[in-house]
């Protein structure tokens, strides 16, 4: 057994950390929320460094990498609340397996692509649709691409670029695409869980740092077991989430039969572990954590949003139970 990242993946994660740390100040998330900016680093920067094409085949101009390769990068983007999300890159790369021209445009950023959840005649709020110009959707069992009318709505977390879309044109890319669509959504759930892993990890670290410095009643608050145990529970959640994300990403690449179970488990766990991490971060900071100026609520907003995207915990827990009862655990 070797349930660990490879040296190349560790290097890629370190490189991604440097890139995201250098290109995404948390002030960007706040500015986007205030309507005074757009999510950083933005689509072009992500395309230029090659992150949008990690899982696009080399023949279509991508890196031909694995979902796990993408997940370790996505984790680093999640840590700084980067936008747009690599969820869309991962999901569109699956959907465009039969459309190499479009896949190439996804990878090099020349097409601003978003994937729509719900009916293409009026979608649910969909990730990074707000500034996209080409939309992929499922229409009566067929995979379609088209242009659309975009209605963003007031954001809870502006880094997600959520918008409702009504397609105004559509062409069929593949008939009978239900299975492909489902697999793409599972891969998307894994990458969303990976971004949540990075964000949850950062929220816990932020709270631990504060608990090591803030004093009350004569000593630092992290020495009180009431505070310490909250932080530990949040950290254990992050540690366990990492295991599920790796397993699910590995399954996407190497054990497709395990992907539905693993993706549902990772997404369900991510929803709750990230939410707990973010709420713990606010609580441990006390009053300052409840202010607009503090960064804690930026993570809290991401957690409250992500937990519901691509299916909430209720949906995924139900899927885990149904799959296991159906024999998915072997």
């Amino acid at each position: 057994m070797n349930f660990d990242l490879s040296d190349d993946q560790r290097d890629a994660a370190a490189g991604a950390r440097d890139f995201f740390t250098g290109s995404v100040p948390l002030s960007a998330a706040r500015a986007a929320l205030e309507g005074e900016g757009v999510p950083a680093p933005g689509r072009k920067a992500l395309a230029d460094i090659g992150f949008l094409g990690i899982t696009v085949p080399e023949s279509a101009g991508g890196a031909g990498g694995s979902v796990l390769d993408l997940a370790v990068v996505a984790e680093q983007g999640g840590a700084v609340l980067a936008g747009p999300s690599l969820v869309t890159a991962a999901r569109a790369a699956v959907l465009l397996e039969g459309a190499p021209d479009l896949a190439a445009q996804l990878a090099d950023g020349s097409a601003a692509i978003a994937v729509l959840d719900g009916p293409v005649t009026g979608s649910a709020p969909s990730i990074d649709a707000a500034d996209a110009t080409l939309f992929l959707g499922l229409d009566g069992g067929a995979l379609v691409a088209g242009e659309g009318e975009v209605v963003p709505g007031r954001p809870l977390d502006a880094t997600r670029g959520l918008a409702r879309v009504r397609l105004t044109s559509r062409r069929v890319l593949a008939e009978d695409a239900g299975g492909l669509w489902e697999r793409a959504r599972q891969v998307a759930a894994v990458v969303l869980a990976a971004e949540d892993l990075g964000a949850a990890d950062r929220a816990v670290l932020m709270a631990v740092d504060y608990a090591q410095q803030r004093e009350a009643f004569g000593r630092v608050i992290g020495s009180y077991q009431a505070v310490k145990h909250m932080l530990v529970d949040a950290w254990v959640g992050v540690d366990q989430l990492r295991s599920l994300v790796w397993w699910a990403a590995w399954a996407a690449d190497s054990a497709p039969g395990e992907l539905p179970l693993a993706a549902a488990a990772a997404k369900a766990y991510a929803a709750e572990a990230f939410e707990r991490a973010a709420e713990t971060a606010v609580q441990v900071h006390g009053g300052i954590g409840f202010t607009w100026e503090h960064d804690a609520h930026l993570y809290w907003r991401r957690a409250k949003t992500d937990r519901l995207l691509l299916g909430d915990a209720t949906e995924h827990l139900d899927a885990v139970a149904r799959l296991a009862v159906g024999g998915a655990l072997g």
Binding site: N2, F3, Q212, W235, Q240, A324, V325
Partner: protein, 406 residues
């Protein structure tokens, strides 16, 4: 990344599997989750371990010079997995192999090693660990059982408790206080004690789950020769840490499940879900799904720790997270399992006498206490992994006789 055996691991596993098949007639087998009473099945349990020792499957990681196999932690994990797969119960001397023996190896004399270790591996002697006391559980270094030097012997008085297997044990490692005028950690000394010596009284304790796996042990003027001391007088805490570190290795785990497995819950749900009202089925699936996810999260986290071991690493304090997560998962799994029983959930067993899930439920509170309470584990993780300071303490420096107060 992969979950496969390496070629070496695969061939080792094949050898273990063929031994367990070839010797099946000489081994005790039990159904999954079936409780095994050490007292009533003592002879079979000892014989089973003897056979496995003969085949080189006991003390896998022990050095060869002490009768072990000089193997790796991965090989030990493979043996454990294959024993579970073959439905051979946990080795009767698991505490001796995992904790007492390694302590004797590290701190015992050559004479002690030659007298004890080979017999321990064959289960000719069963061992127990005499640490906890009525007034020192989580705070182990507060123990009061005294050992007073008298010529070539030490005279021991006091009481130990929660001692697993004491009722079938021949020897134990015993942590005592030999100098109450020194601070609590500095006045301790470790011994090997003969459990059949005059003055040793063992009384089984019945657990809330109904079974009796552990005991209270009384010491009344029990004489222990100085040659049975492990380590120097006053060094008992350091010796005990060896034992506890080995405990961490023993339970650090290769993703083994605490309590009922997710597979068992899934099979149970497959059988029981259709009998529930449709609306309740949806709610039950939520509970089952949540329990399975918690269980899988713990299992795959265990695989990460196991990978660290197989790369030659040692288990660090983060191993405590495995037990904390495993306990939480066991609680959810047991609860989901009981709820699936419908009306039978309020009874101690189903109409056909099956109490698998009720037993799992009653076992959970013990898991959350034994081998480090949830609260102590959170302190360990908070202080040693997250780097948070400990609560202020006065008991580390004051003489024990003052009650830890200056």
């Amino acid at each position: 990344m992969d979950f496969d055996d390496t070629p070496e691991e695969a061939s080792y596993r094949a050898r273990v599997r063929s031994v367990l098949t070839d010797r099946a007639a000489d081994l005790l087998h039990v159904a999954p989750g079936e409780p095994v009473d050490a007292r009533s099945r003592e002879a079979e349990l000892r014989a089973t371990q003897g056979v496995l020792a003969e085949e080189g499957l006991v003390g896998v990681t022990w050095p060869r010079e002490y009768g072990g196999q000089g193997g790796t932690l991965v090989q030990q994990a493979i043996v454990s997995q294959e024993l579970a797969r073959a439905r051979v119960p946990t080795l009767v001397n698991h505490i001796g192999i995992g904790m007492c023996g390694p302590t004797v190896i590290a701190h015992g004399s050559d004479d002690q090693r030659s007298r004890y270790l080979a017999r321990l591996l064959r289960a000719d002697d069963v061992w127990c660990q005499l640490f906890s006391e009525p007034a020192s559980g989580s705070d182990l270094a507060a123990l009061r059982t005294s050992a007073v030097r008298d010529g070539e012997d030490w005279v021991v008085n006091g009481q130990k408790v929660w001692t697993t297997l004491a009722h079938v044990s021949d020897f134990g490692i015993l942590l005592t206080r030999t100098d109450p005028e020194r601070p609590k950690h500095a006045g301790l000394t470790m011994f090997v004690v003969d459990m059949h010596a005059p003055g040793v009284t063992v009384r089984p304790l019945r657990q809330m789950s109904g079974g009796a796996d552990f005991n209270e042990v009384f010491f009344d003027d029990v004489r222990i020769p100085d040659s049975e001391r492990l380590g120097e007088p006053g060094e008992g805490w350091r010796v005990a840490l060896t034992t506890l570190m080995n405990e961490r290795v023993a339970i650090g785990g290769a993703g083994s499940d605490i309590g009922q497995s997710p597979e068992a819950l899934a099979a149970h749900a497959r059988e029981r879900l259709p009998a529930l009202d449709p609306e309740r089925q949806a709610l039950a699936r939520q509970a089952v799904g949540r329990a399975l996810v918690a269980s899988l999260a713990t299992r795959y986290t265990g695989y990460r720790r196991f990978t660290t071991l197989s790369q030659g690493g040692v288990p660090g304090p983060e191993a405590s997270a495995g037990k904390l997560g495993g306990t939480a998962a066991a609680r959810l799994v047991a609860d989901a399992g009981v709820r699936l029983l419908g009306d039978d959930a309020v009874l101690g067993a189903t109409a056909d006498g099956d109490d698998t899930w009720q037993r799992a439920q009653a076992y959970v509170p013990g898991i959350a206490i034994a081998g480090g309470t949830d609260q102590v584990l959170r302190n360990i993780l908070g202080e040693r992994v997250l780097g948070l300071p400990s609560e202020p303490r006065t008991d580390k420096t004051a003489p024990f006789s003052t009650g830890g107060r200056r």
